[in-house]
């Protein structure tokens, strides 16, 4: 393995876990070739005529799938911090003395911290997915055997489709399933609302196991996972802890400072003209984003406007727009709270929409470029508007990319962030880890001013003289440094512990082991 400089000027490995890797070439520069990956051709000969695929246990299903050393196991994250299935896979694998597995989750949560044990004892070689909290620290300290690979939600399905990563066994938890393997996110004690992250796994995995705690009569309709792709169905007592799957209600921030940022963002959206009748918008489930959604909803009501559609993760606040007539449709890959789950169940205009369709860059177009207004977060933004979402300024890997990179392709990307958190500047001279190139980031809204990317003269013109506190990104960075003092950079060893993929599968940056 050698390190090469990519088009963003970052040093990245040309090889990841023994496979060749392509350095980032620039936004929209890499053109894929060849054909999509395909799993082996199955035949009905191998499946029971009554189509009852239920087996006694997850262990039996894994054995029947031929679980062995070095395999790649995929899971989705719809059960979030209430996931009772994923860790079991590795517990079973360890008891079977299987080694060097690769785990490909669509995201991981604190409840997955026990996987550290299986990383330490060799059952799991490495993780390709998000790494939060203790898992992130474990990787940053150089303790994972293989190299971590971080991909966006869209990058994950692109990698699966293109065959960059081959799933041997997909273990897909499902809140409702029938014996044939049709499954959905609504119904049962562990409802997730949608299963928008499972589609690519179904299409491309060699073997698919559906795990449910709610076996229903055939057909389980409307199915998001189709039984034709499923090998085995496992029925367990509980797939998840309901209150940790979705929150009762998502909470708007109470912090006056965050609310100030949300107000400024809403004011920018109004004065710039980005808000208009028929616009499309996506905002996350963070406290500040939710507050923005509430202000925006109020604006729509006053003006008598309606969003054409919004893309989820959905929350109560989007559902309110839908129900009160300020949003035409919610297209949804995941539901964050109970109101959203209920809405999917009852409202025909709240439509499950897989990430595979919404975010895949190697696709015949996708949803991201249709979004007018995109509200995102970041741990760091630099004076070239580059963004970091995976590491903190101390160098530790602490977050996944989520849909962030994919969402950067929206028409107007707006990032509301505090100028500094405690003493740590968010606007810096150079991001610790590059996750998204500055050319795709348009507006930074902080409590101490709004910086618009000079590449977007149209946006600058649209708000000139309208009373918004416009500043340059350099001024923001200087202000942060003047208040906080100049921060020292984190010190790293040479060892690369994680590769950060761009939406097209190229490597945009690498994360190194932290010193000490």
């Amino acid at each position: 393995m050698k390190m090469v400089k990519n088009a963003a000027g970052r040093m990245v490995p040309d090889e990841i876990n023994g496979r060749e890797a392509m350095p980032f070439k620039g936004v929209g520069k890499h053109r894929p070739s060849g054909r999509k990956y395909a799993p082996p051709v199955p035949t009905c000969i191998d499946y029971p005529e009554d189509n009852n695929k239920v087996v006694a246990s997850l262990r039996e299903a894994l054995e029947l799938c031929g679980l062995k050393d070095g395999m790649t196991i995929s899971t989705h994250h719809h059960l979030r911090d209430g996931d009772l299935v994923s860790n079991q896979i590795f517990e079973i694998a360890a008891s079977m003395s299987v080694r060097d597995l690769v785990w490909l989750p669509s995201a991981s949560f604190p409840c997955n911290d026990p996987v550290i044990e299986y990383l330490e004892n060799g059952t799991v070689n490495h993780i390709e997915g998000s790494m939060n909290g203790p898992l992130g620290r474990f990787v940053s300290e150089g303790r994972m055997k293989g190299m971590a690979v971080l991909r966006s939600h869209g990058g994950r399905v692109q990698a699966i489709q293109d065959g960059e990563v081959k799933i041997d066994i997909a273990v897909l938890a499902a809140p409702a399933a029938d014996a044939f393997g049709n499954a959905k996110g609504i119904g049962g004690p562990s409802a997730t609302g949608v299963l928008g992250y499972a589609k690519a796994d179904c299409l491309y995995a060699d073997k698919v196991i559906v795990v449910t705690d709610n076996l229903v009569d055939l057909p389980c309709f409307p199915m998001e996972i189709e039984g034709n792709y499923v090998d085995y169905v496992v029925v367990v007592d509980k797939i998840g802890i309901p209150e940790k799957i979705v929150s009762g209600t998502t909470q708007i921030t109470k912090s006056p400072d965050r609310l100030l940022i949300a107000e400024l963002t809403a004011s920018f959206l109004e004065k710039s003209g980005l808000m208009h009748d028929g616009a499309t918008m996506q905002a996350g489930a963070g406290g500040t984003s939710l507050a923005i959604a509430v202000y925006v909803h109020e604006m729509l009501r006053k003006k008598g406007w309606k969003f054409r559609f919004g893309f989820g993760g959905s929350t109560k606040y989007m559902v309110e727009m839908l129900e009160e007539g300020q949003m035409g449709y919610i297209l949804d890959a995941q539901a964050f709270d109970l109101d959203a789950v209920k809405s999917i169940e009852k409202n025909p205009n709240h439509i499950p929409y897989p990430v595979f369709n919404a975010y895949n860059y190697h696709s015949k177009g996708n949803l991201t470029t249709m979004m007018d207004i995109m509200i995102l977060g970041a741990t760091e933004i630099d004076t070239d508007f580059n963004g970091n979402v995976v590491t903190h300024s101390d160098g530790l890997l602490l977050h996944g990319i989520g849909g962030w990179q994919n969402c950067l392709h929206a028409r107007n990307v707006i990032i509301p962030v505090p100028l500094f958190r405690d003493r740590i500047p968010v606007i810096v001279d150079r991001v610790t880890t590059l996750c998204g190139p500055g050319e795709l980031i348009d507006v930074i809204v902080t409590e101490r001013g709004i910086a618009i990317n000079p590449r977007r003269q149209d946006l600058i013109e649209s708000v000139r003289g309208k009373g918004l506190p416009l500043v340059t990104i350099e001024e923001l960075q200087e202000t942060a440094e003047r208040i906080c003092g100049k921060p020292e950079k984190a010190a790293f060893d040479d060892k690369v512990v994680a590769a950060i993929k761009w939406v097209d599968g190229t490597v945009i940056d690498a994360v190194r082991k932290v010193k000490n």
Binding site: D257, L260, R423, I424, C484
Partner: protein, 405 residues
């Protein structure tokens, strides 16, 4: 071994630092640093602490630092307070007075909203000015625990120099009695615009504060007036409201504090406020008679914005010209409540235009439609117009602009 602990720590504390200082006989200075931001600022914090100890002439000490992301002005205040607690030194370490803080106030500026900031909670200082209150109050009195009074004074002094309060009037609420007088000594040299005198019951208290400030200003060569806002919080204070309001020309507002007032009366503070109706009216009348601003008490339910707006409206109707706030989200509501409404502005505009028209035509009587307008009505309309212009609700060229109905 004598030990001093200053600052705050704990699971919910952010942007602060807890300093434990022990003076030793030999061995130089030992520093143990625990910090949330060690990677980025560990070296800077260590250097700052060592430089500070040197500044105070401490050669041998053990310093334990537990940092949750404190800014340099906070670190300096905590170390200085610890040294002072052990040595009683009169030496200070003054952080740079930033240029943004060198502005003056004026007697007749608006004081609709003034935001209380507990004097020993530095995390709340940083963004206070961004919420655009008319004034910020760095409070040394009721919001600071008795054993934290000394360190809060140092912290507030440093904040007055280092934190950009974005043009808000810079106010302090001092303690009662001798401690309050000592507070002035610490803070007046650092561009304090206004001093709130708590639980004020007579003119002597005001005069003592005034005299102390004059002496400090003389000593420091300061010229700007430091305004005074006595807070009436007792029956005795209410009885002497006019005497207090006119104690010195530097008293520019009279405030009422209802928590203590109702306690003094031995009654519950209710939402309707009948128990304090007399006191509030008395304060308004005394202040107006003295030609100064009457300021209402805070509204303590920070979650109830509708209740707050109703409260502000009734305050305004009684004649108050401002009230305190204890949460930044109250500021906009208070401003809205005290600002003239669109209808009020419109009516005032018509009256003033009719008056000017009558003057131009040499008429002795002003009429709007079939209604005669008395001079005090015109005066009130002029006040509303000037308020609206100052608040940016009306263009200063309003009289030349077309009236759009």
């Amino acid at each position: 071994m004598k030990q001093a602990v200053t600052g705050n720590a704990g699971p919910k504390v952010r942007s602060d630092i807890e300093v434990t200082l022990e003076l030793t006989d030999s061995g130089g200075t030992e520093l143990i640093l625990k910090s949330k931001v060690k990677t980025m600022y560990g070296n800077a914090i260590e250097k700052q602490c060592r430089d500070l100890l040197k500044h105070f002439g401490i050669k041998n000490a053990r310093l334990l630092v537990n940092d949750t992301g404190a800014l340099p002005f906070v670190i300096a205040a905590r170390v200085e307070a610890a040294v002072k607690a052990l040595t009683g030194t009169s030496v200070s370490f003054l952080p740079e007075m930033i240029n943004e803080n060198k502005y003056a106030s004026s007697r007749d500026r608006f004081r609709f909203s003034r935001l209380y900031l507990p004097g020993n909670n530095p995390g709340m200082f940083l963004n206070a000015g961004l919420h655009s209150p008319d004034g910020i109050i760095l409070d040394l009195e009721d919001s600071v625990a008795p054993d934290k009074k000394d360190e809060a004074r140092v912290l507030v002094r440093n904040a007055l120099r280092s934190v950009n309060f974005c043009g808000a009037e810079r106010m302090i609420r001092i303690n009662q009695g001798e401690r309050g007088i000592a507070d002035l000594d610490y803070l007046i040299p650092h561009n304090v615009h206004l001093v709130l005198i708590p639980k004020c019951e007579n003119a002597e208290t005001v005069n003592k504060v005034d005299e102390t400030i004059r002496n400090i200003k003389k000593r420091e060569g300061q010229h700007e007036t430091v305004f005074l806002m006595p807070i009436i919080e007792s029956a005795a204070g209410v009885e002497r409201a006019y005497e207090i309001a006119t104690a010195t020309p530097d008293v520019i507002a009279l405030a009422i504090g209802l928590e203590d007032y109702t306690a003094d009366l031995g009654v519950q503070r209710t939402r309707e406020g009948n128990e304090s109706l007399y006191a509030r009216s008395r304060i308004v009348v005394a202040a107006k008679a003295a030609g100064i601003q009457p300021i209402d008490s805070v509204f303590s339910d920070v979650g109830d914005m509708e209740g707050l707006l109703n409260n502000v409206r009734s305050s305004k109707a009684m004649g108050f010209e401002g009230m305190g706030c204890i949460h930044p989200r109250q500021i906009a509501v208070i401003r809205e409540g005290f600002s003239p409404s669109a209808e009020e502005i419109d009516k005032a505009r018509k009256i003033v235009l009719a008056y000017r028209d009558a003057l131009a035509r040499g008429l002795g009587v002003v009429a709007l439609g079939s209604k005669m307008i008395d001079p005090p009505v015109v005066a009130r309309a002029e006040k509303t117009i000037s308020l609206a212009v100052k608040l940016g609700l009306l263009s200063d060229k309003w009289s030349e602009e077309e009236v759009t109905e």
